[in-house]
Amino acid sequence: MKRAQLLLVSALIAASTLGSTAPGAFAAQGQVRSNSDGFAYRCLGYTDTYPQQLYTLAVSQMTKLGYAVTDASLGSAFTRSAFLTTVGKDYAVYVHSHGDNYWAASGYPNVDSGFLQDPGTTRCNSSSTDVVRSSSIKAATYGGAYTLVIMSTCSLGADSTTMPGAFQIEKTKLSPEKEFYLSYADHVYDSSMLRFEQAFWSYINSGNPNYTLWGAFTYANSIGGYPIPDAQDPFLPNWWGSSIYNGHPL
């Protein structure tokens, strides 16, 4: 406890000292993580290339939007520890993996959403050991503000998800803050995620400063051409946050 207090005091001193630094002295940081070993030949019998394609797209486009993508990993460097120890300083976060709204430790009906870390090169994913839960992320984000969070996973855009709250983003579509959370509500084909995200990034990074993340979402949601696994799983991307934020770092 004493150690925690000391750390907090040190952090506050650092913040008060550096808080006066001129705006823009440090580029707003972003991180991009993609689980690829969980979808490699050893686990699937073939190598799923979508994690690589989505990762490459997100790194290039988050950078183009103005974020310094300082923590990016495709594969085994995407661990729970790596994510949680670096997420606190970020403003933008992108994760591609398997996601779900798991029961919380307190049990039904409480939800503690999560995604799977990369399992590394010697084993496959397990939901009993690899989930990075929203409660852990919330603790690691110290109540900090996040401007752009993309969970390129199934289910983390569902009404029941707790993931936006881990980044202090309220599940409203009328937020006055410059913040935007994007994910998918149900089960989604990887090809549909790639098509949607290609359209999303092409719109927001097409060079018009008046374009908004909501506009990019609405455009991508409008173009259609998204196959669905079955009639019970329509293609349902979802968002929360501000409808007028252009996505550029503050």
């Binding site: 290039s60 855009g157 092409s202 349902l236 409808s243």
Partner: protein, 310 residues
Amino acid sequence: MNEMSAIGPSRAFKSALGAGLLLASLAIAVGSLPADSKPKAPADPRPTQPAVVFQLLDAQSSPAVFSRANSTRDALGFPTGVRRTGRRVKDSFQQAEFDEVDELDAKGDLVSLTQFEPSGRLRVAVRLDQSPHPATRVDGESASQAAQRGVAAAGLLVGGPRHVDSDVATDGWTVRWERTQNGVSVRGDETRVQVRPDGSIQSLARIEHQLAAEPTRRLDSDQAKRLVTNQAHQWFEASGSSYTIQKMDVEWVAPNDTFGSGQSADPQQAYRLAWVANVKPSGPAADYAWLVTVYIDAGDGSLLGGDIVE
């Protein structure tokens, strides 16, 4: 609470963290440099970026494009801007080329956009002004009728199975007509209308791909199921998992290289007739793969690709 006071402290904290990490990184980097080493230019960590390039169009030189855009805007009840801009777009993200007309308000904000294929066929029309949020939204049947009226007003014909789904992003409805060819679904091809909660049209899109010739002989379902079973067995055996084949239908599909079968992923290539099987993993693989969908060429039984729900 204003925006600055809401985010100020956390931004300062993140700046401090960022500065600390930057200093630490510099210290590590300097400390690890051999005395005789020369600084090297860092490798560019950014992958090759897709891009949107365009050529401006104006109403004098491209009257047909602007005329089509105006007609579509009015047919769908979209707002009229104070000015319009047009452009021929090459979008390497979407691997598409199209003409686009934007309607802009007095502040230069986009209120709607319309895109057409180079052939003049509508690609997508979408309004981007804020949607009203009425106390009660229209029901699915009313939304479906509104979508039908919008499609007809835009001069499009629809047929095939119709689906009406609630849309969580708009709190409205998505109405889709699957494209079929001789009763066989064309995977992903559709006429798609999004209807706002107040019953107005949010967007209209039509996706239609070229189809290859039908194979002269078609595998029957038992033959196709054997091929899918052999493939699924190879995939899931390694991870000690099992599977069930949930559904098999004949569909037109876009060949792809999802399973490394060497198929081209060229979006312009013609769709081929295939047996499409949904393979549901069980056992350990079910923790990370929810569904694998397999395309088997309906004529020669070769693997045409597929898809995955992670």
